[in-house]
């Protein structure tokens, strides 16, 4: 299997920009930003890679809590942040390209949100 280790560092939201800036300075590449809905909160993983070394920063936020955008550091982060906002309803502040919830056109607002009530209209499952 994959030989290289994966590290996950849990950090508070306030440290996010500083840690990301440091990784950017070290020459890390942004791989992805992914969000996971827990029972009452969200876990957001920021994944970086440098020469096959895989690093993750993890923040945990409550529903409605604002997350600062890292698109000032990694320009390309806007796709992931807009996705996070459109699917999970996490407010991200300071995005360089803010679609205001129109990047992913879903029939229902924030379909993956943990505060969403009921299973909703899922015809096939």
């Amino acid at each position: 299997m994959t030989a290289k280790e994966q590290t996950i560092i849990e950090i508070p939201v306030t440290d996010l920009l500083e840690r990301t800036r440091k990784l950017h300075g070290d020459g890390y590449r942004l791989v992805q930003i992914g969000c996971t809905g827990l029972a009452e909160s969200y876990e957001i993983n920021y994944s970086f890679d440098k020469e096959y070394r895989f690093q993750n920063l993890r923040i945990t936020v409550a529903p409605g809590e604002e997350v600062p955008s890292i698109s000032g550091i990694y320009w390309g982060a806007f796709v992931y942040e807009n996705e996070m906002h459109d699917l999970f309803g996490i407010p991200v502040t300071g995005m360089n390209i803010d679609f205001q919830g129109a990047m992913i056109r879903t029939g229902e607002k924030h379909p993956f949100s943990v505060t969403r009530k009921g299973e909703g209209p899922c015809r096939n499952a």
Binding site: Q32, T36, S47
Partner: protein
């Protein structure tokens, strides 16, 4: 200063088989700004993971994309195997490598055809797809499916390739390679193709790296980063070098994909030679408890499958970051400055796969 107008590009456009929408801000014929938007085919497959048992979800994972289907399945099962600490038999790892490389061949040939079509070179389009058909035949003969292979499962593979079939495949490789060389010759040396692609949609090395580009888009800018170097499946035992090209334009991205055709052929050859004997699967019991980021190099670039389980048969989260999503920011940076007529070619040069992107 000329007047600025906004021209919508897509979601239905002759060059794209799938819907992506771009708002192009034009000054005369020159693009000055681009705003992409997606979401026309969001299927919620990531959510489906909570409704299907984890061994079944591999069928869903394969159907995330119709072209890199095998590698989505492979990335998913590798993630599960890593969480559950399953040691996959050697033969299964080699078989997966062969199928993955066949998928890469057929995906690149498909893309080359579409690209030739976008340039208006219909003959070349037909020729690429004709070659692709022979790869699909091999896939059908060995797995039973042309584009959806369905042979990966947690703990190994579902089908074996018999020894004689393996040597049959190996025997057809030299001829296929020669046909690919002819195709490469046309793509790289034909004056009209060179004129159409050279200097188009340039993105520099540091910029591509910084924007988080993946796959041929990244390597076309001279960064030789390839997720296969992580050594998953049998790649650690096989000898290959990532293909890269320094120019960063459409021509370079095309050259990288053409170069990868030969890497894939060589990898299949090596895998057949080194194919170990033995079982093709192990029995897997229990349920995944833990999390893992599985990275696999797809034809379009690096895919990340993030899987998280809580010890039940249903995973709690599967998140797929597909290469096209990572390649949208570079695309947005590539387009300003080009002519409106060049937009289809540049959009196609990142090999957009929108179904993947939206899952």
């Amino acid at each position: 200063m000329p007047e600025r107008i906004v021209v919508p590009f897509g979601p239905q456009h002759p060059v794209l088989p799938e819907p992506i929408h771009l708002d192009l801000v034009l000054e005369d014929e020159t693009v000055v700004d681009v705003v992409p938007s997606i979401g026309y085919i969001h299927r919620g497959l990531e959510k489906l993971v909570t409704k299907r048992e984890y061994p079944e979800f591999v069928h869903v994972a394969e159907r995330i994309c119709g072209i890199c289907s095998f590698m989505h399945g492979m990335a998913y099962v590798q993630g599960i195997e890593a969480i559950m600490d399953v040691e996959v038999p050697d033969r299964a790892r080699y078989l997966r490598t062969i199928w993955a490389e066949c998928s890469r061949l057929h995906s690149h040939l498909l893309w080359l055809g579409l690209f030739a079509d976008a340039m208006g070179f219909e003959n070349l389009f037909m020729r690429s797809w004709q070659l692709r058909e022979s790869v699909l035949d091999v896939l059908e003969d060995t797995t039973g499916g042309r584009v959806i292979q369905g042979t990966c499962k947690v703990g190994g593979v579902r089908r074996d390739i018999k020894g004689e079939k393996l040597s049959d495949i190996q025997k057809t490789l030299p001829e296929f390679e020669q046909q690919c060389r002819d195709l490469t010759d046309v793509f790289l040396n034909d004056e009209s193709v060179k004129y159409r692609l050279g200097g188009l949609g340039v993105i520099g090395k540091s910029e591509a790296y910084d924007l988080g580009a993946a796959g041929p888009t990244l390597r076309g800018s001279g960064v030789d980063w390839d997720a296969r170097c992580l050594g998953y499946a049998a790649y650690a035992d096989l000898d290959f070098k990532p293909v890269s090209h320094p120019a960063g334009d459409c021509y370079a991205r095309c050259a990288v994909r053409l170069g990868e055709l030969f890497t894939s052929i060589d990898l299949i050859n090596q895998a057949v030679e080194k194919m170990p004997e033995g079982p093709i699967d192990v029995k897997v019991t229990g349920a995944p408890d833990g999390e893992y980021f599985c990275r696999v190099e797809q034809p379009r670039g690096e895919v990340v499958h993030y899987l998280k389980g809580d010890g039940t048969k249903h995973l709690t989260r599967a998140r797929v970051r597909t290469p096209t999503l990572a390649n949208i920011p570079p695309l947005v940076k590539m387009l300003p400055g080009c002519q409106l007529a060049d937009v289809p070619v540049i959009v196609l040069s990142i090999d957009p796969c929108i179904s993947c992107t939206e899952r």
